[in-house]
Amino acid sequence: MAYDYEKHIRPGKLPHIWCPGCGHGIVMKGMIRAFDACGLEKNNTAIVSGIGCASRMNGYMDYNTLHTAHGRAAAFATGIKMAKPEMDVIVVGGDGDGTAIGGNHFIHACRRNIDMTYIILNNSIYGMTGGQFSPCTPTGAKASTTVYGNPDPTFDIAKLAIGAGATFVARGTAFHATQIDKLIAEGIKHKGMAIIEILDDCPTTYGRRNKFRSVVDMMKRLKEIAVPVAAAAKMTPEQLEGKVLTGVLHKEERPEYTEQYAQVINRAKGA
């Protein structure tokens, strides 16, 4: 039987704004399946986004949804989670939103290990504004502001998250659609900051400029570069050249922020 996405979608809010071939819709479907698998209650869940094509996602979803300002989603979400720790808080946004203008909020949300699940859709470009380079655009690639090739080095979002203190870090791709919900669900179940990076495509502003003839080409690339962590363990550095690891990359237990603050309240009341 076909999976029923409808019950998670707000009546009358589709069609979406995304271009044909954009990977953002694939990720949204994965999120929905993950929410279902985890039994998230609509009224008790807040989905917080920034600004960008990816960030428009929560407008379609029938939950408490907060479409904030560019880059600030994690900070808004922190306010919600602190106010109501019993709520499930999900953050969603693009690579530019999360690692450029929102980079400071991203790393500090990781450091606090506040119990949220942050799904970051990495299409290596600023899609919404027409394809300027982001901190995740590969060096040498073409963007509307790097027609001579991108001189900037690239962020590794997963490494950044691990370094900043996130206690669950995973990576998937829009090509490996059936893995997306599993990674997100594991992130939701994890107590603490879960970062789930999904490598995504933007045929309109990135593919076109970087010699991908079609969406299929972009998907093929995602398929080719992805190596599951278990498989990577058996590969040589030469074999891993140009590949990216997928699956759960990092998991640890560390005190969660709102629980820590509950202890602050206890100490203050006892004092």
């Binding site: 609509k42 907060l66 479409h67 904030t68 300002a69 602190m82 709520m87 400071n104 203050a268």
Partner: protein
């Protein structure tokens, strides 16, 4: 029963005023001369089960405040010039998304890092125009420690009543000054909470104009589920570019303040009845002005003080009346002439208007004001 009294610093009075108003969330970032507000609340909020969080910067602090407010909290942030500049984009967000919250700005010298420990009043126009786009503004300017307490309570009330951010601005002098303060008993000052929806969750629209200019606000995590965006939106909260819907929404938001000015406006007048010279002064400057009025009256000079406590919306009507009555209005300010522009605008040339301005980190003293009044009379 005797009232509880204390010798308190302005910033502490702000924190206790917030608690009196039912504040249960503070998100901030340290900056002189506002930091004591955060320090006191970091101690007091958890005692009553409230939440204090020191965020990574002022933008994040403002974001956390809006997030918490949408989850039903009465939320506060406190900062100073550089921090207010950083918060501006999200102050606009709170305006368009109609999120009740309070922003304290303990003003110092500027621009940029300016004079962190020196007083200033140079953010008073920024409070009105600092964020982009047309939006309603309420800004309060207390001038004593007791008034910081009561105006912080009023700021929460206005924020909740009109579903919008409210700014409280006081300069470093008032923020760091210690004065005797009487704590109001619980119930003595009015405490207002936002109107919550009574319609069924299916029928709830977060910006429904059929409930008047201030639609009821639900909280995340209740039976109501809704969408909030910083885009221009229709009554249901979802983005729209339909010209008539955008226009309706924008004008309704402005009407929240414009249509309720008598409720929001608060001024103090001292010996203005027969005054030929009016001193228009606010914050710490009004303290020197009051002293100057007393001295000048002893010499028989017919001078009075008009002190706005609500600075925005500007008390247009009353200032226009005083401008007709007086020969001159003197406007002392710790900036190079900001509110004087408003006084000039509403006076429409009906009297002389002169400023006294200082930006050297020193207060305006009564002597300066006395000399200026004598010159214009």
């Amino acid at each position: 029963m005797a009232k509880k009294v204390a010798l308190l610093q302005g910033n502490s009075a702000c924190a206790y005023g917030a608690l009196y108003a039912g504040c249960n969330f503070f998100g901030g970032y340290p900056i002189t001369p506002s930091t004591e507000v955060a320090e006191v609340l970091s101690v007091e909020l958890p005692k009553v089960g409230g939440k204090f969080i020191q965020m990574e910067d002022e933008i994040a602090a403002m974001a956390s405040v809006i997030g918490a407010a949408l989850a039903g909290q009465k939320a506060l942030t406190a900062t100073s010039g550089p921090g207010v500049s950083l918060k501006q984009e999200l102050i606009g967000y709170a305006c368009i998304a109609e999120v009740p919250c309070v922003i304290i700005n303990v003003m110092r010298g500027g621009p940029s890092t300016g004079m962190p420990t020196g007083p200033g009043q140079s953010d008073v126009q920024q409070a009105k125009w600092g964020t982009h786009g047309d939006h309603p503004v309420i800004a309060l300017v207390p001038s004593s420690v007791q008034e910081i307490f009561s105006e912080t309570v009023r700021a929460f009330n206005l924020a909740e009543k009109y579903r919008m951010p409210v700014q409280v601005l006081y300069d470093e002098i008032v923020g760091h000054m210690r004065e005797r303060i009487e704590f109001p008993e619980p119930g003595e000052l009015e405490v207002i909470n936002r109107t919550e929806p009574t319609v069924s969750p299916e029928d709830y629209k977060p910006f429904d104009p059929s409930f008047g200019d201030v639609p009821p606000l639900a909280a995340f995590g209740t039976d109501y589920r809704f969408h909030v965006t910083g885009l221009n939106k229709a009554a249901d909260g979802f983005p729209t570019t339909k010209a008539n819907l955008v226009d309706d929404e924008q004008r309704r938001q402005i009407r929240k303040v414009d249509g309720n000015q008598p409720d929001i406006e608060l001024n103090e007048e001292y010996l203005t009845e027969d005054a030929e010279v009016i001193i228009f002064a606010y914050g710490s400057t009004a303290r020197s002005a009051r002293y100057a009025v007393n001295e000048l009256r002893k010499e028989g000079v017919k001078v009075g003080l008009f002190r706005p406590i609500t600075l925005w919306p500007f008390p247009e009507k009353r200032v226009a009346e005083l401008a007709k009555q007086a020969k001159a209005i003197v406007v002392p300010e710790l900036n190079l002439g900001q509110m004087i522009l408003e006084v000039e605008r509403v006076a429409k040339g009906t009297c002389d208007i002169v400023g006294i301005n200082r930006v050297d980190g020193e207060p305006i003293n009564p002597g300066q004001i006395i000399a200026q009044v004598k010159e214009v009379k």
